[in-house]
Amino acid sequence: MDNVDLCIIEALCKDARTSFRQIATSLNLSPDTIIDRYNALQEKGVIRGSTIVLNPKAIGYGAMAVFMIDVSPVAAGKTPFDSNQILEALIKMRNIIVATKTVGDHDLLAIGVVKDFQHLFSVRDEIAAVPGVKDMEVSFWSDIKELSPKYFVI
């Protein structure tokens, strides 16, 4: 990546709808160059997509929670649970916006937005119902901010 790439990324991080023409003018390049660079960044996977940054509180979400999940150990003679399958189930759930496998105290992690306590419990129950999920710890917070807008968007 060179300086042009970084300038494109910086502009789009601030406002993903910035027109390529506008970026081109500010860099003294042609819009075609910017479009080619943008496409290349997408192909390389540096830019994974774009999204809108919402204020959860304005639409009725009071808190965020992180679910730290433990996968059941393999019982003798049984096939082990595939944590990739659990991961796929997690990311398909409504209001789970980040999910990953982890190395450390737990096996998987999911971060979600919740409306209230009742909703927090229902999300927990939904995760607990995924085959292979043995146990989980939950931490939650209500002072919702943007979670590193550069790499993760909340």
Partner: protein
């Protein structure tokens, strides 16, 4: 503060959740309204504070960042704010918040590599008020799905 949204507002948000560069013309066609209406509405939901802006989703790997990890920190209740002040000064801690549940504070670190993560963990652990710290390294292929964020139903809609 909770804001009321109608079908057009929600259509705009839904489209932009998936692709923030979606054309207003396409959204306008799908709602049967004019492009002008869509851009006015978008400005309005921004002014109301429902939308904070739009951004691109980047892959940390593209920036030579090899390690994303979360820290769970335990501390006495009266010490949480002091520790938060220290965490906010650390550039590699990209997010930190006091929490309820199994930790006092939850923090997210984006660092060059695992060696650096270990150094950072030691720095936090050396804070006299930190009782306990645990780290989880996020394995690559972190899945992000902002469009999972359920929207409320429109005003008057059943």
């Amino acid at each position: 503060m909770r804001q009321e949204l109608d079908e057009v507002d929600l259509a705009i948000i839904r489209a932009l959740q998936k692709d923030a560069r979606a054309s207003f013309a396409a959204i306008a066609r799908s709602c049967n309204v004019s492009v002008d209406t869509i851009s006015k509405r978008f400005r309005k939901i921004e002014e109301k504070g429902v939308v904070r802006g739009t951004t691109v989703l980047l892959d940390p790997k593209g920036f030579n960042i090899d390690c994303v990890a979360s820290f769970g920190i335990k501390a006495d209740f009266s010490h949480v704010e002091d520790i938060m002040v220290a965490l906010r000064k650390m550039p590699e801690i990209v997010f930190s918040t006091p929490t309820m549940g199994c930790h006092s504070i939850y923090a997210l670190a984006i660092v060059r590599n695992v060696t650096r993560l270990s150094q950072l963990k030691e720095v936090i652990k050396a804070h006299p008020m930190v009782r306990e710290i645990s780290a989880s390294i996020w394995v690559h292929d972190i899945l992000l799905c902002p469009e999972n964020f359920d929207l409320p139903s429109a005003k008057g809609e059943k």
